[in-house]
Symmetry: C2
């Protein structure tokens, strides 16, 4: 930044000590807001909380919180997410900072959004569910407070964009999953039908999947083989561009 205060010529450390704050600048509240996605085997879902206090009491909202004095942004986002879900080590990625002066009617607040991808099976309503959290189908989520609807829209676009190139959607699945589950997930995210043979061929080419002996019999008579992710290849090749769905760029705005 610019507009630092001039100071006398001394050692840097001394200077810093002399200069305790930047004068004549306004300070703002900083919040993090999390867009938490899950997958029920059929459809994408989003975890929202119902506010039981004013303002906007009884309205639905993203889970968030103010950044504290000694925590980083990622730290705050992880804290908020753990408060809500009880989960740690969740896939969490910063999306964007929202800083419109009027976005919070009470007081100007900057919000840094994160999206989280969690295995919905690991999530359990906290015993002391102070947040009144609820899963919604993404398609019929209720209106949200402030600019949270815009945040969710951006988050949807972001995961569509990123999942078109990188295997992040596995973060939504349990350790063992079936090909039909995986295909349902991709089809729901992109709201499109995918040819099953091409889908499997492309998946096989990634070498990310390990076939297990066990079958999931719950969905059909024949049963579908379980697969698990090859974690090493997943981490090693995460940045590589995949092309699982046909013409992904045509689907990004749907």
């Amino acid at each position: 930044m610019l507009e630092l205060l001039p100071s006398e010529s001394e050692t840097d450390k001394t200077k810093y000590k002399l200069m305790k704050t930047y004068n004549n600048q306004t300070r703002f509240l900083i919040a993090v807001d999390c867009i938490v996605f899950g997958f029920d085997g059929e459809h994408l879902k989003i975890l929202l909380i119902k506010r039981d206090f004013e303002p906007e009491k009884d309205k639905w909202s993203l889970m968030g919180g103010f950044v504290r004095t000694d925590e980083s942004l990622d730290g705050a986002a992880n804290r908020v997410l753990t408060q809500l879900t009880g989960l740690k080590g969740v896939y969490l990625e910063q999306i964007q900072a929202y800083g419109d002066p009027m976005r919070d009617p009470i007081e100007r607040t900057l919000s840094v959004t994160y999206f989280a991808l969690i295995d919905i099976n690991k999530y359990q309503t906290q015993i002391n569910d102070q947040y009144h959290a609820e899963w919604f189908l993404l398609k019929d989520a209720p209106p949200l407070i402030f600019d949270h609807d815009a945040m969710v829209e951006t988050a949807k676009k972001k995961i569509r964009y990123k999942a078109a190139l990188h295997p992040i959607l596995f973060e939504l699945l349990p350790k063992k999953f079936t090909i039909p589950q995986l295909q349902n997930l991709y089809e729901d995210v992109y709201n499109t039908q995918i040819d099953n043979r091409n889908f499997i061929r492309k998946l096989t080419a990634t070498k990310l999947l390990i076939k297990l002996a066990e079958k999931d019999k719950s969905g059909s008579k024949k049963g579908a083989f379980y697969f698990k992710l090859d974690k090493k290849k997943y981490q090693a090749n995460f940045q590589a561009f995949l092309n699982i769905i046909p013409n992904p760029d045509k689907l990004l705005t749907v």
Copy 2:
């Protein structure tokens, strides 16, 4: 966010008026920092400023500034960029928020970074060059203050990533440019050699270029034809995935 104050039951507007601020929360400075890229026909460059005030006097830094009371983040970034370059309507994109508690030794400050792509020919040192700005080859830019080096690294990755899929690099070129210039640009961004015939074929396929009658004679005896961008197609198909350079994902971390 959570942790709003409870309030009496009245109309929303009344509630908001009653509730003037969020209590018991720390407020922080918010800055924007711009990573400004240019292209001299051969190499990518970055615009840095030399601080002539304490702390970190005489050190190189990104151009930045504190967010003011009534401006948005984008507004602040545009203001800062115009102050530095005199340019308006520049390609500017938010990258990321940096919020490590110790990133600024004077006072905790959140910085939201933006990258700017400008036509280096349009840039002219401001008459009153209070910022002592200077262009550096990206490869031999000096060490920067605070966490600005990390910001530049992230910005480099970001434009490599984005330019692998979208035609943003045209923002660095003048209205009229030649194919050799364009190829130099891509080769410098990805630090790789590109086969000239394949490069032109892929570019032609995008239908983004319009060939002009005029030639640029400065670089060779034969001269290279000027091209200009088809602005309508550029805007209409900006989100479409291109594949100008071979195996871009292999080059993203170089």
